[in-house]
Each structure stands twice: as structure tokens, then as C-alpha cells.
Symmetry: C2
Subunit: 210 residues, 2 copies
């Protein structure tokens, strides 16, 4: 094995490993959820949380997604983390480095105590430490919010890492090739205009890490 | 109009303005494309480009997405830019700042000269300046690559900006509220392991801007 093959091993691969899949789900913030409406697909971005072996999708009770679940439409949900642009010496081998997970299955609308717990979990998933700082939802808020549970049984991931995989005949032409790494960074927290004087940024946001 | 209403105007809105929509499409790198397979939806991440009034989706000829287009399945495609986490004093008003566009319609597989031009456009869309530095695709590469065109006729956007919109009774409790801004940043380009000595990073990557 040469250095080149080492770098190039598994540059694009399907992953069936729940540790890898869970790490993708836990790093993501937004998912894209698709459902069927009549004979056509609809995809929307939404917030979510992972709780063990289930995914919790957040939405409005009156959203198309919640209605689709009431109609028993199957769902397909993707979480994608973009890690870089792969710049090869040909368009064909140019690509992206990414980690993505796709979940298929039926959704189930949560209710009652299950829904209350799930609401807290979504806050805590997105902003670890936050849930103890905020008040409980009112009954009206609970009614307006839909939480859709999906089992993480039918789930797979794809991961591409590493540099470009150029054809041997494209090497040595003096054209630059490599990867532009991309990452999502959090800036300094911006206080609300109606925040009282003297309220400090809580430790769990200083910094916000994911 | 107070400072508060100024900040809070249009915090969440549907947008029907092509200038806003095009700006979202032009800033994105990955889209999520959904199609129907049997009676269920499938969503996948993929690279794309906008060219005027059309979207060009990139994929493999043997991908499920290309097969769906051959079966005349309608498509739904979302591009989402996440701009921040909105941290309100209640879970209900906690949210995300984002800009997203969703396109619905039929896909059309490009061929011949149209496909060749579209391949260049996708490279140029992702890495402006790059297409003149790389060789033309071979016939085999062209065969393996599918480019799916969609008209930007059925397209809409949603944008949320600004701080949390808390209920008046939740103010003044000493709990911090505000926004954690998020953005995608490019790191220094990482050369391929097989890059010849002395090849400089091209100007169009130094820095990579989007």
C-alpha cells in the first residue's frame, strides 16, 4: 500500500455502522424531510433531534409534513454535513466531501406526556443545557406543535473523505488539485433587543459547539 | 414603529421574489432532491447549479434520481442555508434563522451538447474560474454522468431573520435570549497528495468565496 492508496481508500462508501450514523445525526441541525402528496414528492427543511434509536422531527400541527403523517405517507429524511469541495483535474472526478444519513420509514405523531418530553429533547439536542432555563410549553403551544417520531431502523449513511481521485493520465499537468475544507462555525451570540441589561451569555452558548 | 417592531418585522415569511430565490440558490452548494419510488418518497443530497431560469442537478446515470426522471416521477428539490439558532425564552419560540428555496416540477435528462455545456456550468457554479483549467470530459465520463434540468417556474422560498419573538409575559425573567449566528467558512485549500511541487493555489480558490 502506497501513501496514495492509503489516502484514497474508501473515499466514497456506504456506511452501515450506527456509530457513524449517530455521529452524523448528532452533528446536524437541519434535516430535509420528504413525503408524498398525491403522486408527487415534497421536501422541506426542518429541525429535529435524535433520541437513542429514534428521530424526532419538529413541525407545526398544520404543516404538510404532519398532515402526510396523518395520511400514513411514508417519509424519507436526510441529514447532510458538507465537509469540503473536492477539486480534481477533471470535472468528472471533482466532487464534495460529505457525510450524509438517510432514514426511511413511517412517522408517528406524538401526544401527551410523550410529546412534552420530546419537545424538551429537541431544545436540548439543539442547545445542550438550555431546557432547564426555559419555561414549560403552554397547552396552546403544545397543540400547535407536531412532533413526529421515526424509528432509526431503516437508515444508511454515505461518507466521502480525502483528496481527489484523478486519472493517472491527468497528473503532472501543472493544474492545482486538492480540497477546499468547509465547516459551519458559530459567531458570538447576539442578544435579543428586549434582553434586560446585565444578563450574561450562559455557559452552554459560550461558545456554541456542535 | 419601535426598535422592536423594526427588528421583528417579517421574521418569518414566504418569499415569491426571484431575486431572493436566486440569491439562495447561488449561495447553496448541496441540494436535497426528492422523488417517488413506488408509494414512498426518497430524498438524497446532490450537487447542482443554477443557470438562469433552470436548475441543473448532478448525479450518476444509474442513480435512483436519474431513474426516477426516466420514469417521469415529479421532483421536489430544497436548498437550505442555515444562518443561526434563535434562542427564545420558551421552547415554542425557539427556532432557526434560515433561507430556503423549494423547487417542484418534472426533471429532464440532458444529452449531447446540452449536457456537455451543463457539466461545465456545474463546475463553474461550484468553483467559479475552474472550468477553463480542466480537461473536457471523455465520452465514457459523459455517459456515466446524468444532468437533470428543472425549470424554475414552480419555486418558492422561506426566510426567517432577526431575534426571538418572545411572549410579553416571558420577558424580564433574567434568562438570556438572542441568536447564535452560524455560517459556513472555507479553510485553506489542501493540496492533493499527487500534486507536483511548485503548483500554486489558483486565484479563484484563494480564498474560496460563495
Amino acid at each position: 500500500m502506497t501513501d496514495k492508496t492509503r489516502i484514497r481508500r474508501l473515499p466514497e462508501r456506504g456506511v452501515d455502522d450506527r456509530i457513524v450514523i449517530d455521529a452524523i445525526l448528532d452533528e446536524g441541525i437541519v434535516c430535509h424531510a420528504a413525503y408524498v402528496l398525491g403522486d408527487r414528492p415534497v421536501v422541506i427543511p426542518t429541525l429535529y433531534a435524535r433520541d437513542g434509536d429514534r428521530l424526532l422531527l419538529h413541525g407545526s400541527t398544520s404543516s404538510g409534513l404532519a398532515k402526510a403523517v396523518r395520511r400514513a405517507s411514508p417519509l424519507s429524511v436526510a441529514i447532510t454535513l458538507l465537509d469540503g469541495i473536492v477539486i480534481a483535474r477533471s470535472g468528472f472526478h471533482s466532487s464534495a466531501n460529505y457525510r450524509s444519513a438517510v432514514i426511511h420509514g413511517q412517522g408517528r405523531l406524538l401526544d401527551g406526556e410523550e410529546k412534552s418530553r420530546a419537545l424538551d429533547m429537541i431544545v436540548e439536542f439543539l442547545i445542550p443545557g438550555r431546557s432547564t432555563d426555559i419555561r414549560q410549553p403552554t397547552e396552546a403551544e403544545r397543540r400547535q406543535t407536531a412532533i413526529i417520531e421515526m424509528d432509526l431502523t431503516e437508515v444508511s449513511a454515505k461518507v466521502r473523505t480525502g483528496g481527489p481521485k484523478d486519472d493517472p493520465e491527468d497528473l503532472g499537468t501543472g493544474v492545482w488539485a486538492g480540497v477546499v475544507p468547509l465547516r459551519t462555525v458559530a459567531g458570538d451570540p447576539v442578544p435579543a433587543v428586549d434582553l434586560e441589561d446585565g444578563v450574561q451569555v450562559p455557559g452552554y452558548l459560550d461558545p456554541y459547539l456542535r
